[in-house]
């Protein structure tokens, strides 16, 4: 003990702290301790190796899911399933409403916009067809889920008088949209929308999907990701409905 400490130490406190002395007769067992340390070091090495292996495996799986096409499709299907299950589990999630009755439908806001090839896409020109108008953006994750469904619908029902029109709301327009539609092999016309048109359709958040009957009237407007089977049924109903009315 140095002189400085001796002069300042508090005898009363030291007396009490001294009672904690474990006793001079006790000598910690160095050999046993060293054996235990060696054992823990070996176990620690193994544990850290196991973590490294787990991390590497996770990275490989992520890489495969992102880079390779077939796992990517699998991941996409998993995402679709998850969305469907999540929706079915939510008690508050309302079931997608049915179509408006023909008498309650109003004319859809008109538009005339150019597609990627410079060709005009005018809504009045599509009269006589059932039209699915989809407001979307390349950055919108929900849109990425439903666009492949619209590609399927276009393929399946185009021959029966159905068409999808995608209206992109990307700020930088064709710069990001063109490469995207090329990569995703979108088989229906895509145009670049504007805020005014979005407002007319009641766009508050992406995505928004409107279904128009053959008369160009709004039969359904859905905010958020659509339900694939319900939307497919609505398209069928609209195609059938128009078929009935024309016969």
């Amino acid at each position: 003990m140095d002189t400085n400490s001796a002069s300042r130490s508090d005898g009363w406190v030291n007396e009490r702290l001294a009672t904690l002395d474990p006793g001079t007769e006790w000598e910690p067992d160095v050999t046993a301790g060293l054996l235990r340390l060696r054992e823990l070091r070996i176990r620690g090495r193994w544990t850290s190796g196991r973590w490294l292996l787990a991390a590497t495996s996770a990275l490989c799986v992520c890489f495969c899911l992102i880079a390779l096409p077939s796992p990517k499709v699998l991941a996409h299907r998993c995402l679709e399933c998850s969305v469907a299950v999540w929706r079915s589990l939510l008690p508050s999630a309302p079931a997608q409403a049915g179509l408006k009755p023909p008498s309650g439908r109003t004319l859809a806001p008109d538009f005339s916009l150019r597609d990627a090839s410079g060709k005009d896409v005018k809504l009045p020109d599509l009269k006589g067809k059932v039209v699915l108008v989809n407001f979307w953006a390349t950055w919108c994750e929900g849109c990425q889920v439903e666009i492949p469904w619209f590609v399927e619908f276009q393929k399946e029902y185009a021959s029966r008088g159905f068409v999808v029109v995608g209206i992109s709301m990307d700020d930088d327009g064709w710069k990001s949209v063109k490469p995207w539609i090329k990569e995703k092999k979108v088989n229906y016309p895509i145009v670049i929308g504007n805020e005014g048109l979005g407002k007319q359709y009641g766009l508050e958040g992406m995505p928004l999907t409107a279904l128009l009957d053959r008369e160009g009237r709004l039969a359904d407007v859905h905010h958020g990701i659509v339900e694939k089977t319900a939307t497919q049924q609505k398209i069928r109903d609209l195609l059938q409905e128009s078929f009935n009315s024309t016969n």
């Binding site: 003990m1 508090d10 030291n14 702290l17 823990l40």
Partner: protein, 184 residues
């Protein structure tokens, strides 16, 4: 008496190029003292030995700690490990007392046990467990005969201010002890 940084040359191969630390040599040199410091706080010798081994394991894992003042790091971590264990014990004791209402009574301690449990030690430990960790560290290191200079080195503090800080810690200890147990 322990020297904070000079003995590191004897126990660790700190060649500038490799900075390789011989953990087993260090263990043989300091294990006893580290375990005894922890035993002061914890009171249970077997548990103290376990905790002391864990301190060395931490050192082995912590490459940053191996680069400078290894002994200082060891004693600092040892005191902290002891205090953490003491707080755990205090909490456990609290819950056990609460559960005593619903659980069957634990058989009474044997006369031998009763003899081994020092009332004074229990009181001192309970006061240490509620002090600020820094103050408890000062008191424990001082009670283990570390000089002010060594305490300063272990806690990486200015040696000039240690005297004042230790006095404050002693004062806090005294107040808390008297508040709980009176002038015994």
């Amino acid at each position: 008496m322990y020297t904070v940084s000079t003995s590191s040359e004897a126990v660790a191969d700190t060649s500038a190029s490799e900075r390789h630390l011989d953990i087993e040599t260090l263990f043989r040199a300091h294990y006893g003292r580290v375990a005894r410091i922890i035993a002061r706080v914890v009171g249970d010798r077997a548990r103290s030995e376990d905790l002391a081994v864990e301190v060395f394991l931490k050192l082995w894992r912590n490459h940053k700690a191996q680069s400078q003042n290894v002994e200082g790091w060891l004693y600092r971590v040892a005191v902290r490990a002891g205090l953490d264990e003491l707080r755990r014990q205090t909490r456990r004791g609290h819950y056990e007392r609460m559960l005593a209402w619903v659980q069957p009574r634990i058989p009474a301690a044997t006369p031998e046990d009763i003899h081994s449990i020092s009332q004074k030690q229990t009181k001192v430990r309970s006061v240490l467990s509620v002090l600020e960790p820094r103050q408890a560290q000062f008191l424990l290191l001082r009670s283990h005969d570390f000089t002010y200079h060594e305490v300063a080195s272990i806690l990486s503090m200015n040696p000039a201010s240690i005297g004042t800080l230790v006095s404050r810690a002693e004062e806090s200890f005294r107040k808390e002890y008297i508040k709980r147990y009176g002038h015994e």
